[in-house]
Each structure stands twice: as C-alpha cells, then as structure tokens.
C-alpha cells in the first residue's frame, strides 16, 4: 500500500499525466478508426517512448491500450464496423440504437461501461495479481482445452440465430487457424506453396475484411434506405433522454456491467482466451439472464454495457499472468513485454521483489489512465456522434482506405490486402446467409491454442479418455459444453416456437380487424 501511495506521487505530475493523456487520446482515436486496433496502436507507439522515463513510457502505452479498447466501441456503434472482433457484440445493439437516433446514449453507456470494467479490473490486478496467478497454474493443457471448447460452443450457440450455423462458423474458424507451419513437426499445412502462408493467416487483415469491408459493402447496397433513415432521424424532434443515460438505463445496465467485469477479469487471467471471448461470453450471459432475450440485437442498452465492460476488463486482468508469471495473457500483453524489457522491467514473479516501486508506479498510472479515459471519451463522444449525420457514401471510402492501411501495416506486404479481400468475400456471404462471422473469428483466434492444448491433452492422457478422471476441472467444462449445446438447442427451439405463435397471433388479429 505504501508503494502504491508513493506510486501516485510519482505519477501525479504534469509530465506523466500529459503523456498518459496523449496515450489515451491517441488510443481512443486509433480505436475509433475502423481497422486500426489497440495492437497496432501500441506496436506503432513503442518507438515514440524511447526518450521517456520508464514509468511515463509504460503508462503512455497502457493509456493507448485502454483508450483504443474503449474507442473501438465508437466505430462499432456508429458504423457497425468494429475495428476489432472484441467490439463485435457492442455493434449488435449499439448500431440499432444509433440508427434510432440514440447514438450519444449508446456511446456514453459504452464509455461508462468501459471505464467501470477497466477500473475494477485494474483493482483486481493490484489486489489479486500474485495469489490469482498461483491458481492460474492449476490450469494445464487439458483444462485449458476444455475451457476453450466450452467458450467456443457457448459463443457459437449464442452469436447467431442458429446453433448449427454458429458451430459451422466456429469450426471454419478453427480450420483456417491450422493453415501454416505446424508447431511440432514444422510440416506446412494447406499453404498451397505460397510462402506468405507458412506463418499462417494473419488475424488483422482477416478481421478487417470480415468485419469492416464486408459491412461497408452491405451498407453500400442499402445506402438509400440508410440515408433516408438518417434524414428521418434528424427531421423529427429529438428528446433529451435520447442523448443521456437515464436512471432507468443505469438500473438495467449495472448488473450487466458487473457481470461483464467479472467475466472479463476471469477471461483476462486465463492465457489464450482474449477480449473477444470475454465480450461475447458477457453479452451471451446478459442475453440469457434477460427477461426479454428476443429483444437483444434491436438496441438493448444492457447489451452494450455487457460487451464493453468485459472487453475493457480483459486488458488489465491479462497483465496478471504477465506480471506474476511472465506469461502474456493477450496479444496486447505480449506486445507490451517488448516495451517493459526496453524500459528495464522484466515481467515475471521476480519483478515484485526486485522492482516493487516500479510495479506500484505502473498500477497508479493504470488507475489514472482509467480516469483520464473517462474525461477524454466524454469530451470526444459528442464530436464522434456527429458521424452518424454524414451520408453513407462519404463514410464508406474513408473507412475502406483506413482498413487497407490497417491491413497493410500488419505485414507491410500487399499479401495482407489479398487476405483482407478474400475474407471480405467470405464475410459478405456469411452475413447474408446468417452464418456468424464473429464466431468464425473467435474460432480463428482461439484455434491455435485449442489445437495445441488438444494435442498436448492427447499425449498427457496417453490417448485414453478414462485418464480424464484425474482432471476434474476439465470434466466440469466438458459437461458444461454438453449442457450448453442442449440448453441452447432447446432455447432456440422454444424461441422459434414463440416467434411462430406470435406471428399466428398477429395474423389472427389482422384477420379479425379485417372482418370488423
């Protein structure tokens, strides 16, 4: 605690606060630009920190990560083009709300949920980093494989309207993740003698193609309708409640925020799951807990709260395995290792003993960054919400250009653009045929870990399923997976029946009205 108080005295000086504010603002803008995510932002900004002192440098980079995590909700809500897969569930309810003329309300809730999730998760990091990391060691390959399988099934079942289609999409995601050199034998798989494919398919161009460009094409096809909606939206008088988060919105969203923060914090601690899994699990859990799950996807504010709180809670808690064990829990944590080492801090259990003050300084900077994020986001959202007024035909070219830059920068090769375009086609078809492209992406993200842990599990279990008896955590998650499949299948069946009954009811009413 003494270290933390001293840490605040080190951080609360004009220079450090200025650089954290620059980092948060830069991250927020980069996150809000479709195609440029937090990984790109932090990776690009590392050289900028060469001349800063270690704490200021790391605080600024963490500020970028936090800012872009919250900023990615902006493009998801306003343009339905999440820059990162983890913001995709935010778009499910955020975009419909924006189209109803409630863009500012959606942006504000996204920001508040992000900041609360991020702040609480940072506190979790401070209080529980060392003890929780010990428990994380109990999760071996067999347990992790079972957890990943459960997450994929749960998300696959909840992401789209059909469990079968969700699972097909997830299987495709895992399948595409197997492209490239196999990690044990280094045998190339499905590379078709293309050298660039040896290192596998890159996530960033794939995600940009599927999420952003494909959405832009769909919007281009519905341009007249969308512009008419916008004109109609602003010709009508606007209510004050449409721009603010009301007490009723808070009542509905607070449980979702706390649930999302809890899910995001747990997901962040487990290496390999990532923010996408966290935000989708949280969105799914809130949908299932709701009394009106059928209304999700039409502009439910708690959907935004659930997704954003979990998405942002993952970032600080993913530092727990990094700080306590030296294992990066996310892509962003992996990139930050380079920055930590560059500035003389080696992540791992020894840093608590060797450099306790520096760790405390970073904790203090992270908490300050959360508060600064609230101020920057609140100031920026009014400006960003004006984007919805711009005609679609003027938005699409800019977004497409930014997407190309984002994809290109990943490898500095035109091959990334080919990958982006290939997955644009797949994303477009998947959208139109109602296959969940988000489940596909999550399958792709966790695919390498799923395969690796599966192969390790086969070897550890000596190819005998009976040996699972010694792994109760894995058994629990396998049972949960099976229960989830049955639960979702039954749930979708009953919701279809309910929808059909409602349709019949509506038809009967119309007939009666016709008769009278």
């Amino acid at each position: 605690m003494d270290y933390l108080i001293t840490g605040f005295s080190h951080v609360l000086n004009p220079i450090t606060i200025l650089w954290v504010t620059v980092g948060v603002t830069l991250g927020y803008v980069l996150g809000a630009l479709p195609g440029l995510g937090k990984a790109t932002g932090v990776a690009v900004a590392i050289p900028m920190t060469f001349y800063l002192d270690p704490v200021t440098a790391i605080a600024m980079l963490i500020g970028i990560a936090k800012g872009s995590g919250a900023g990615s909700a902006v493009s998801a809500i306003l343009l339905n083009t999440p820059g990162e897969p983890s913001s995709a569930p935010t778009a499910l309810d955020g975009y419909p709300l924006a189209r109803q003329g409630k863009a500012q309300k959606a942006l504000k809730m996204g920001l508040f949920a992000s900041v609360i999730g991020d702040f609480i998760s940072t506190l979790v990091l401070i209080v529980l980093a060392a003890p929780l990391a010990r428990y994380a060691l109990l999760i071996g390959p067999i347990e992790l494989c079972a957890i990943l399988l459960f997450s994929l099934t749960f998300i696959g079942g909840l992401a789209g309207k059909s469990l079968i289609k969700g699972l097909i999409a997830a299987a495709f995601g895992v399948f595409f993740a197997t492209v490239g050199l196999e990690t044990e034998t280094f045998i190339p798989r499905l590379t078709f003698d293309i050298l660039e494919l040896d290192s596998g398919i890159s996530l960033v161009p794939m995600a940009i193609g599927m999420l952003a460009i494909a959405e832009m094409i769909v919007q281009a096809g519905n341009m007249k309708k969308l512009d008419a909606e916008t004109a109609n939206m602003y010709s009508k008088g606007r209510k004050k409640e449409d721009n603010i988060v009301t007490a009723s919105d808070w009542r509905r969203s607070l449980p979702a925020i706390f649930r999302g923060t809890l899910i995001g914090s747990i997901v962040g601690i487990l290496p390999g799951l990532g923010a996408s899994v966290g935000s989708f699990l949280s969105y799914g859990a809130t949908k299932k807990a709701s009394k009106t799950p059928e209304k999700f996807g039409t502009g439910m504010i708690e959907g935004i709260a659930a997704a954003e709180s979990a998405d942002n809670a993952v970032v600080p808690s993913s530092f727990i395995p990094l700080f306590a064990l030296g294992i990066p829990g996310s892509v962003i944590a992996a990139i930050l290792i380079a920055a930590f080492v560059l500035h003389g801090l080696t992540p791992g259990p020894q840093m608590f003993q060797k450099q306790p003050q520096m760790v405390a300084d970073i904790y203090a900077a992270m908490l300050c960054a959360s508060v600064i994020l609230l101020a920057v986001g609140y100031a920026g959202q009014r400006l960003f919400s004006q984007i919805i007024r711009v005609p679609i035909r003027l938005i699409i070219p800019g977004v497409m250009f930014l997407c190309c830059i984002g994809a290109y920068m990943e490898t500095s090769s035109v091959f990334s653009i080919y990958v982006m375009l290939f997955f644009t086609v797949i994303g477009f078809i998947a959208r139109k045929l109602d296959f969940s492209f988000v489940t596909f992406l999550i399958g792709f993200v966790i695919g390498p870990n799923l395969e690796l842990t599966f192969r390790q599990a086969i070897q550890i279990l000596d190819q005998k399923a009976i040996n699972l008896i010694h792994h109760p955590i894995a058994i629990i998650f396998i049972i949960l997976t099976m229960v989830t499949v049955v639960w979702i299948a039954r749930g979708s069946g009953s919701s279809k029946r309910a929808a059909k009954a409602a349709e019949v009811d509506k038809q009967t009413k119309t007939n009666k009205e016709g008769e009278t």
Binding site: L26, V44, A45, P47, M48, S162, I164, K165, L167, I168, A171, F172, V174, F175, T178, E182, E184, T185, I187, P188, R189, L190, T191, F192, M216, I217, V218, A220, G221, N222, M223, I392, R393, L394, I396, P397, G398, M400, F401, L402, C404, I405, Y408, M409, S412, V414, I417, L421, F428, K432, L433, D434, F435, E451, F454, R455, I458, Q459, K500
Partner: protein, 150 residues
C-alpha cells in the same frame, strides 16, 4: 432463408468432402513416428462441418413452416450484389495501380473510385476528401507517430 440454407448446406457438404478426400491429403504431409498427425485437427473440423451441414439440410427440410416472405426472398439483394461488384472493381483498379504505379495512386484510387462508384459527383468533394484523408494519415503516422506505412 430456407432454400438458401439447403443450398449452402449442400455446398458445404461438397466442400467438406473435397477437402477431406482431395485437398487435405495432398496439402498436408504425414508426420514422423511419435508425433500427432498434423492433419488431425483440419480433418476433425472438416468432418464436423460436413456433419453439421447435413444436419442443417435435414433440420431445414423438417421445418414444415409455410414459406414466408423471408424464405422466398433471395438472401442477397440486387443492390447489394451491385455494390459488391462496384467496390470489388475499385479494389481491382487500386491493386493494379499499387503494383504498377505507386501506393499513393492506389490510395487515391480507393477513395476517389469508391466515391464515384457510390454516386458522388460533386468535384469539390471528390478532390477535397482524398486530400484531407491522405494528409491526415500522413500527419498521424509520419509526423505524430514517426513511422512509415510503406
């Protein structure tokens, strides 16, 4: 969506079988003794996809609900298909310019091409928009972040 589901299910079955019996065996070598086969997971995924695609067809056919408007309407509208072709052509032109002229020409082609393809005809917008976007990107990456894109 009913007809589209059946067709997509059939396409996925054919795709799965082609991958299982032709592509995966020819594209993935066998592993040395003692290693788990590298084609294990790709094969598993394709078997799963083929099985689920079959299940999709069966469940769609078994669903005896009357054809509604959604069922009979094609999943991709004519306007969406047209937008797909227009923006696809813009990317094709931009790629050619990237390979044969310069990355900057490709960037301008993407912005101007898509503006024109989407119906923008005001010369001021067509000139000012690419200028502002390119200047903004140059400022952000080359000056503020101090890094090069190309």
């Amino acid at each position: 969506m009913r007809r589209a589901d059946i067709i997509s299910g059939m396409v996925l079955i054919v795709f799965g079988l082609v991958m299982l019996f032709i592509v995966i065996p020819t594209q993935i070598d066998t592993a040395p003794d003692g290693f788990v086969s590298p084609s294990l997971v790709p094969n598993m995924m394709m078997i799963l996809i083929t099985f689920l695609a079959g299940l999709l067809i069966i469940t769609t056919i078994r669903n005896k609900a009357k054809d509604t408007q959604e069922d009979t309407a094609p999943p991709i509208s004519k306007a969406e298909l047209l937008a797909f072709l227009k923006l696809g052509s813009v990317f094709a032109v931009a790629l050619m310019l990237y390979l044969w002229v310069a990355p900057l020409a490709a960037g301008i082609a993407i912005i101007v091409g898509s503006l024109v393809a989407l119906g923008e005809r005001r010369p001021l917008i067509i000139i000012v928009m690419p200028t502002l976007i390119l200047f903004g990107i140059w400022l952000l990456f080359y000056k503020l972040l101090g890094t090069a894109i190309v």
